[in-house]
Symmetry: C2
Subunit: 382 residues, 2 copies
């Protein structure tokens, strides 16, 4: 369960890892200091993990899930010799504390529920306290390795699309900093580089929160991949100048027909790519598909506070009382998507038919579509 | 020659004006403090004008020309009773000092040459010192009023395109802050509002230098025009959501075939507008046309320093040594331009044929095309 966490050529950064067996601790990139400072935290207590999640030292839905699972281990690992009841009580108390760290993070609850269910299953089978703790260690390792494995499979499938010398444009950050593995959109790029292909990347800075400048440029440069930062409004021009061979982005949610919800600006990039005959690929695991919604028009778009646009660094760049429209996401229609790279393969020119078939092939249940009418709420997106 | 300079409903800001007759002084918006502070400078000496131009307190090619002409007046207005020779000597010294304020500003030299030629013509006609000064006052007033007049004509022609209730997207700042009048791209918007039409504007923030957030939002809000600030990468999505009826932008240089060079990001906006069936208009005086170049491929694009992207407010947002590509301008092909609004009318779906005809109708000489081969240099754009 231990791991190294050092930079090497074409190797993605590992944003968090368990160190030292049992008992052990979590090593984690302190993302709030990026890109100006690279520091790795040692997280040794539940309180420290709650603080790290709350402060966004760790972020990205899959990475938060892994962090929560490891947080559970920090809460129970010292109970050697305790009864099953004592371990279960401590587990519940630990989960309650972790759940409060970031109450809107879907993967946080998913991971805590999976850890609880594992312990309950062991307890129901009359396991001892030590055996329950052992089962929790295995479950956390499984959550992390499964996330890594999914990233690697997406990387392997996506790398087939990348030719030697490819110049790739990406938007926002869907890389190793957001997952327990090598990321989604960036996984095929890391994999292609590891295969010896020469790849270079244009990273959109991605206003307002600048994840492209702060995170994508950082993690790609650290892995030795040639990266050029551009402002978002330069994306069309670099395509026009013939500098881009393909676009690869991640996704926050994909509708049953293949419409892709992702960071604001993705839609513009997709339109520009189509105008220039450049393929536009999305990389996302099957868990990103929301099979209950027929198309992207039913995805609610969260609006962000205007201050993120007007006061980007505590410094005001627009007039007082300036009205701002700042949707966090947009939806790219499936017709602009050349393919969706998943852990089970590439869905080219995605359609409902092909997506449903992929779910069936993977043995996944396909839920009913929601009834008519727009989906309510504004924060359903992870 | 005096003027008021106060805000009122639908009236554009006057970025600079001559106050108090002869002798008088220049009143000028201190643009370096915008948008957080609105302050008007009183510029009373040549040194103060040199400083104002150097510090970018006044900016925009036409506005700099007007400022330079007024700067000449500041240098000679107190020479009442001096000989013609004394006035001419003072004029030369004044022009030399002003010329050093911003050596790359084409309009600065154009205005200084026009002022010098005026004085020489008077002197050649045996005018007295006082008469030469009088002629210079008239010439400066003429430079300013001609700039204002051109803006107003473009505004009147362009306003015909704007229907009541129109929602207009613009990029960068081509408004009253950049000219001696009501601007280029913003002139039709101000004019339509003055005609009683309800208009609202989406202003792209325009990275890296944020002229849309800092200047366009400021001057439109001050004129009482409803303005919504968006990040550049939101432009496509607001079109997709059906929030935009037309796009209006300015231009730094237009080729003989109608290809339009303007602030980086304009090309992306034009592609996105076409995708959504939204008309894309450019507003520029005939002086913006470069009739010596056949098309936009011959326009050299200046690259800006990477720090403007990586250190937007003295604060680093990207990794050390991050490679940046930051072209200052892009070129929108004429086929994406619905029309070019000039002071002599609207050139719809512009072609070389129509542009040449407009020049002939206006009695303007059409120079020969440059020989084959790309234009050299990187800073030919104003």
């Amino acid at each position: 369960m231990t791991d190294i966490n050092s930079a090497s050529a074409n190797s993605p950064l590992e944003t968090l890892s368990w160190q030292g067996g049992r008992p052990g601790h979590v090593q984690m990139v302190e993302q709030t200091l990026l890109p100006t400072e690279f520091l790795e935290l040692e997280v040794r207590t539940v309180d420290e993990m709650v603080d790290a999640i709350y402060r966004l030292a760790v972020r990205g839905a899959p990475a938060i899930g892994v962090a929560a699972a490891y947080g559970v281990l920090l809460g129970v690992q010292d109970l050697t010799g305790s009864t099953a009841q004592e371990v279960m009580a401590s587990l519940k108390e630990t989960c309650d504390r972790l759940a409060k760290s970031r109450p809107t993070a879907v993967n946080l609850f998913w991971a805590l529920e999976r850890m609880s269910a594992c312990a309950e299953s062991s307890a129901a089978a009359s396991a001892s306290g030590d055996e329950i703790i052992g089962a929790l260690f295995e479950e956390a390792a499984s959550i992390h390795s499964s996330d890594k494995d999914t990233c690697q499979r997406m990387g392997a499938h996506g790398a087939e699309l990348i030719r030697d010398g490819a110049r790739i444009l990406t938007h926002c950050n869907a890389g190793s900093l957001a997952t327990g593995g090598m990321g989604t959109a960036l996984a095929p790029i890391y994999t292609a580089a590891q295969q010896g292909k020469r790849v270079s990347v244009y990273a959109d800075e991605t206003r307002p929160l600048l994840q492209g400048a702060r995170l994508t440029a950082f993690e790609l440069m650290r892995a030795g991949i040639e990266t050029t930062l551009i402002t978002d409004n330069t994306a069309g021009w670099v395509m026009r100048e013939g500098r881009v061979d393909m676009v690869i982005v991640g996704s926050d949610r994909i509708a049953r027909n293949g419409d892709v919800c992702n960071k604001i600006g993705t839609y513009s990039v997709a339109v520009l790519a189509r105008e220039h005959g450049i393929p536009f690929f999305v990389v996302a695991p099957l868990s990103t598909f929301d099979m209950t919604i027929a198309d992207g028009s039913r995805i609610p778009i969260e609006e962000r506070p205007s201050e993120e646009v007007t006061n980007p660094f505590g410094r005001r760049i627009a007039p007082e009382d300036c009205k701002v429209y700042s949707p966090a996401f947009d939806v790219t229609p499936a017709r602009l998507v050349s393919g969706i790279v998943t852990e089970v393969g590439i869905l080219r020119n995605p359609t409902s038919y092909a997506i449903e078939a992929a779910f069936k092939d993977a043995g996944l249940e396909i839920p009913d579509l929601l009834d008519s009418g727009a989906v309510k709420g504004t924060s359903a997106l992870r």
